[in-house]
């Protein structure tokens, strides 16, 4: 069998899941780059890519600045053969968030920034899940599906 005959959709464009450290500013840039190339290989539109990497940048910075560093898991997910997406999980073992409601509201910020990080990134993706426990850490999972 000729491996070249394989349809492009059937190939996993990049090995996922992939775990990246989020321990410094260079890692924030690295997360953006890896997410962008995965989105590109899965055929995301330019606008979808831009929204996803912007959300990834916000959340990676949150992990770094508020969580004291952590990690980001990047994976491609499939709902049906035609519906593919990217799921990102940002996790830290920092102080956690006391008041989740307020943290998601625009204008809320405990560090430098505009306080748009969490609420803003939620608007840029299809699914958004926030878990946090004071003293244990924070985990944010976002999913963006490719629009057909």
């Amino acid at each position: 069998m000729n491996p070249m005959a394989e349809p492009p959709q059937a190939r996993d464009p990049q090995p996922t899941p992939q775990t990246l450290p989020v321990q410094g500013q260079e890692d924030v840039v690295r997360v953006r780059q890896v997410v962008r190339s995965l989105a590109l290989s899965l055929g995301f539109s330019l606008l979808e890519q831009t929204k996803l990497i912007t959300a990834a940048s916000e959340l990676a910075r949150n992990t770094l600045v508020h969580g004291g560093g952590g990690s980001c898991v990047i994976e491609s997910v499939t709902a049906t053969p035609a519906v593919v997406g990217i799921r990102l999980t940002f996790e830290d073992h920092g102080p956690g968030i006391d008041d989740l409601e307020s943290a998601l509201r625009d204008g809320f910020s405990t560090a430098k920034g505009l306080g748009l990080g969490l609420g803003g990134s939620r608007r840029l993706v299809n699914e958004f899940d926030l878990w946090s426990q004071v003293g244990e850490g924070t985990r944010v999972t976002i999913t963006k599906w490719r629009q057909r």
Binding site: Q25, L46, K51, T54, E58, R61, L114, L116
Partner: protein, 121 residues
């Protein structure tokens, strides 16, 4: 650390951001630019972001504060060349960059600066 070059053209300063911005690099640019405005007596600052694939809240905040600082130092800032996808994402993120002049390209940005500076005279 990599630094973003600032070019002087007449009484304008032109900054073209062509790299994926690290936070520290963005902060350095803000400092370099305010010094350059004072040193060169520039009346206008053009920031070309046509190569930027994203503007998140940190970069947006930095661009807004560059504009505010420049204005205090008597120079008007125009942000030029923002990609449509970046503009849509910025607005959805909740960042509309109030008080920052924008233009579609460097040439139109220079034209805008001429008008703004004529009006301020």
């Amino acid at each position: 650390m990599e630094r973003i070059p600032i070019l002087k053209i007449g009484n304008l300063l032109l900054v073209t951001i062509q790299v994926d911005l690290y936070d520290r690099m963005a902060e350095q640019l803000q400092e370099d630019l305010s010094l350059a405005v004072v040193r060169s007596h520039a009346r206008g600052v053009l920031i070309d972001i046509s190569a930027l694939e994203l503007v998140d809240s940190f970069i947006g905040r930095m661009l807004g504060s560059i504009a505010a600082v420049s204005l205090v130092l008597d120079a008007t800032t125009v942000l030029v060349g923002m990609r449509p996808a970046v503009a849509i994402t910025l607005v959805e993120l909740g960042l509309a960059l109030p008080g920052v002049h924008t233009a579609l390209n460097v040439e139109m940005g220079m034209e805008l600066l001429r008008h703004v500076n004529d009006a301020r005279r």
